[in-house]
Symmetry: C2
Subunit: 341 residues, 2 copies
DNA sequence: TTGTAAGCGTTATCAC
DNA sequence: GTGATAACGCTTACAA
């Protein structure tokens, strides 16, 4: 295997065409006679040609690269999002350079530098490290997913509607008090709307409610312990009352359900549980958990479309980028399972 | 923002040096006087230079790209593996082009073509679609993880030892019959050793055992139904005997545990369960599940080291690639939790 | 329909 | 230490 790479020049010599014609064979085949197309095809085959996209990019500027910076792949939400984004290759043929950020500004700066150096055409960002203002200053197509995005385009779950759906269900199911369990979240980020939606719905229907916003730990053990305390507090505060619990995610919901099971051996009538995300754990729990399902596939699809919109604009002779960023919301769907009536 | 890109030529003109010197500033700074280094640094700053790695690659051939083809990101095993591989950026600064394969040969061929076109320096492959012989024919550095790899380098979990550890524990815990629940797996792939390790250990200790190798479905619902039947069969076949169940993964183990809980409201003494993978579900189950923990971090690390070994060899003037592929095994660790004594 | 020649932004090879 | 000049492999006017 003398792997000496064969180039357009070789093909040209071999076929007695010019490099230009070889190039046209790939980019504009109709402009060649069928006969010549075949000649070239044959030569490519015989010489074992392999294309070099890097040279192509250098010449025409279209890298077909999209950068992705994602906080982690531990949460199913992120890994599934990445999966959906990567799967868009089938439709659009963009290639993805992926970085996991883990909340380290220096590292993330390196990521951005690399991405710029490799001439990405666009960026999908899920990490929270850099403010959107800084990101916007790069003047490249960007779409943020579920993060602060004042100065850049974004796609988010309609967290407000998700919370409304959850609260509505609990109210319809005649819960006497509604409780939302979450961490204290900044007003800046989209997930804050889960709290607002919950609260407003309770107020609207005049149902007693409580927000329990606490530090809930950062791994399974600490989260378990934190929720154990929450559970005890709830048991003490609302004995014998029908409680509708809306938890910020399915991991919390699962732990909470396990705590209930450990105490009662089943889910008593006086508890109704709703999680958030529709992650696998909601399905795999001891009792399938009712949850607000994020439509990750739609979010990813919308994000790519929004990005491509911008990237296509940049390819025009006189690009006129969006003067003001677009923000899209995807409505989540309530998935009713066994932790609600 | 007149984003006209500034190049070495601009810097050269601005500083009255040649392009060569500017290049040296980056690749061989010591060869310049400190004074001139500063001059150039200043110019870079003032002109707002941004490097172009694509041009660099075209000129020197080192893309710093590594391709990854992974079957899915749904299984925690894969997403965590990807996470670990991507995180190696901190150490080695390789950039990753990631594709999810979903078992479609035409698509996967496209992936390979793209990766070759972008001049990747190496490939990490977890998908099972192409035989290692075909992959080897590309003559680039490759490492396979947990898949058939006769003709290419590989890193696998020591599945045999994992099964031995599981069986040993169940035997020590005085189980009267050992049962291994798995799908029928090809002898070619590494996971087949789980079956061998289990069987041999049972034989060695003269403990009665049964292999239950069945189609266990391809989503939660079908898997649940399949395991329900398995559970019934076991209940009927071995009443009142202490059963040690070794399941092929934690998802199965969790479902099985849930089935037991639904029948008994707890885990009876006559059941001992061991899963495989140490995925989050093992921890989050109604009872934390004892499991054979894959050391994903070590596997990923080893894979990168093995890949870099080969890639470095390719950079030498007279590369002498491995004449015979290297195969590494990582021993899993038994994680004892609450489903065994 | 095809060819010429000048890029694209670096690095490599010689010189001096 | 520094600089010409020719690659690297492809695209893109501009001609013909």
């Amino acid at each position: 295997m003398g792997a000496k790479k064969v180039t357009f020049a070789d093909i040209a010599k071999y076929t007695n065409f010019s490099k230009t014609t070889i190039s046209r064979y790939f980019n504009n085949p109709e402009s060649l006679t069928l006969e010549n197309q075949e000649k070239i095809a044959k030569a490519l085959e015989e010489l074992g040609y392999q294309e070099n996209k890097l040279a192509k990019v250098l010449a025409n500027g279209k890298s077909e690269f999209v950068g992705i910076i994602i906080p982690n792949l531990y949460l199913h939400y992120y890994s599934e999002m990445l999966n959906q984004i990567l799967s868009s290759y089938t439709d659009y043929h963009y290639k993805f350079l992926v970085f996991v950020s883990s909340d380290n500004p220096e590292l993330e700066q390196q990521y951005l530098d690399e991405l710029m150096a490799y001439k990405i055409e666009g960026l999908i960002i899920l990490s929270h490290t850099f403010p959107s203002e800084k990101l916007a200053s790069y003047h490249i197509p960007i779409v943020a997913i579920e993060r602060e995005a004042e100065h850049i385009c974004s796609v988010d779950t309609d967290n407000y509607m998700g919370a409304v759906q959850a609260a509505n269900l609990l109210i319809r199911n005649k819960c006497e008090v509604l409780i939302h369990i979450n961490v204290p979240v900044s007003k800046q980020i989209p997930a804050f709307d889960r709290i607002r939606g919950f609260e407003n719905t309770c107020l609207e229907y005049h149902v007693p409610y409580q927000l329990m916003l606490r530090d809930l730990g950062h791994n399974y053990e600490t989260t378990f312990e934190a929720l154990k305390k929450v559970f005890l507090d709830i048991e003490n505060a609302y004995p014998k009352r029908k409680k509708g619990i809306f938890l910020a995610n399915d991991t919390y919901a699962n732990i909470f359900l396990n705590l209930i099971f450990k105490k009662y051996g089943r889910l008593p009538e006086e508890y109704q549980l709703v999680g958030f995300d529709n992650s696998p754990i909601a399905n795999e729990a001891i009792l399938p958990i009712t949850t607000v399902g994020q439509q990750i596939d739609k979010i990813a699809k919308t994000a790519m479309e929004l990005l491509i919109l911008q990237m296509n604009e940049m390819k025009k002779r006189k690009p006129s980028p969006l003067k003001t960023p677009l923000h899209k919301q995807i409505t989540p769907v309530l998935v009713r399972r066994s932790t609600t009536d």
